[in-house]
Symmetry: C2
């Protein structure tokens, strides 16, 4: 598709991401976006923000006329909602925005109309109140087609994602979860650890250095959502945490040895390895 | 002092911090700032940046006329330079800008003309090229007077620090090192660990999420300087790393148990504990 003027969209789950999908779709020309959220207040807020034009009282009603259903729910609820949408509308294509992909894609492996997705965008805010039409502009949006995925439907989702402002990046679901375990879930986990560690020390009488504030900015975000993400990717995150612990051990050993040259070389490694 | 128009300053070590002290002092009215650096190129750059008016060929010459000597050197070199300055000029007051304070202050415990200092300001750049007159504006500048410190000299240093734009904060040297071990040295150490961890994983094919970039911004900064800081505060940093490791263990146990409620509560703790 070249624009969204004649594309019928339904958004299931109208929080920050779902409502931003609605706003970005409207910006790209979508005439009407249908929406459903089990939380009536969340749905009403998305309508108020003009992210959703046609609120529905059920999943089935929301997706009945849709060509593309976007499920923007917590990862623990996604498979049920996707299955419900695909069953309620035999012609639609469905995608999701979950932060983990392996379990969701393997559960729906036989479903040719499903294309897994994960926009690498977000905010410390939550809910449709923080939704923005430009939330996805210039950011990566992972898509995880499998051998069973209908290639035409994959291209359709890829085009829509581009029209929402993002850059579609195809990746294997398992490779996706391994990578985000390291680059997203580990940093989130460590930010939480640091926040709890500094908090437990009580008032240290110092102002917070910018470095510490940067390193704990994402701490404490959306507890229920993130608990589900951590558990859904527990194997990869667990491996990353075990590696983190081994590296902390190594640093402690360098400190015990009092070897300034080795410590300096270790920091130089970090200078080379720093993600840019 | 109310301004620096008639205060004779000498800066020893004319890198980022030392040259910024010179620039901030000039901004506050200082007529002439003397300077010395064992690295002739570093001294020349500070003169070129107009941070230093009177470059000297030795520590002794630089401090000969000074009322206040500011030693802005790596922590491993500070005690020697302070001792040299205090011996060369029997009337001057001396302070330093080292990131650790306990060892320096206990080594110089009998010296009533010394006031330990640590400006909580910096940059990822280094050298006089990145120096700024406003580097200290609005930031905390720790001062660590001891029972032996001459109260008049402490007030003098406190006033100068204020005129450089910073807010002087008096703190016990041991309490300072405990606090910065947790709020500064631990975050630096963990940022280095994360950078090395992500680097070791090789190219994961993903763009770097903003959260990971925030958490590794300080990784790899000034290897020699930071190796000395880590070693000088090895006991406090070691304790903080051991606590960090215990908390990583706890998180791994929560993941193994698969307890979403406990995990969510743990993230909620981090939301409350997040430094602001």
């Amino acid at each position: 598709v070249k624009n969204l003027e004649s594309t019928r969209l339904a958004v299931v789950g109208t929080g920050l991401i779902g409502a931003s999908v609605g706003l970005a779709a409207k910006r790209a020309g979508a005439a009407r976006v249908a929406g459903f959220d089990p939380d009536a207040a969340a749905l009403a807020l998305a309508v108020e923000r003009r992210a959703i034009d046609t609120p529905a009282e059920s999943l089935e009603t929301a997706v009945a006329e849709a060509e593309l259903v976007v499920v923007a729910a917590p990862v623990g609820a996604i498979v049920t909602l996707l299955s419900g949408a695909l069953a309620a509308n035999g012609g639609c294509t469905a995608t999701d925005v979950g932060s983990t992909k392996a379990r969701i894609c393997s559960t729906l492996a036989s479903e040719s109309r499903f294309v897994g997705g994960h926009p690498l965008a977000g905010s410390e805010t939550r809910g449709a109140g923080g939704a923005r039409a430009d939330l996805f502009d210039g950011s990566a949006w992972f898509l995880t087609p499998t051998p069973e995925t209908d290639p035409d439907r994959y291209r359709f989702v890829r085009d829509v994602v581009g029209l929402l402002g993002a850059e579609a990046v195809a990746i294997d679901p398992e490779a996706h979860d391994l990578a985000v375990g390291l680059t997203s879930h580990l940093p989130h986990a460590v930010a939480n650890v640091l926040a709890n560690q500094v908090g437990a020390a009580g008032d240290h009488g110092l102002r917070v250095p910018a470095s510490l504030r940067d390193m704990t900015r994402i701490a404490g975000a959306n507890p229920e959502l993130w608990a589900e993400i951590f558990l859904d990717n527990a194997r990869n995150l667990g491996d990353a945490l075990a590696d983190h612990r081994r590296r902390i051990d190594e640093l402690e050993e360098l400190l015990r040895r009092g070897d300034a040259d080795a410590l300096s070389a270790w920091i130089e490694d970090a200078a080379r390895n720093r993600p840019r």
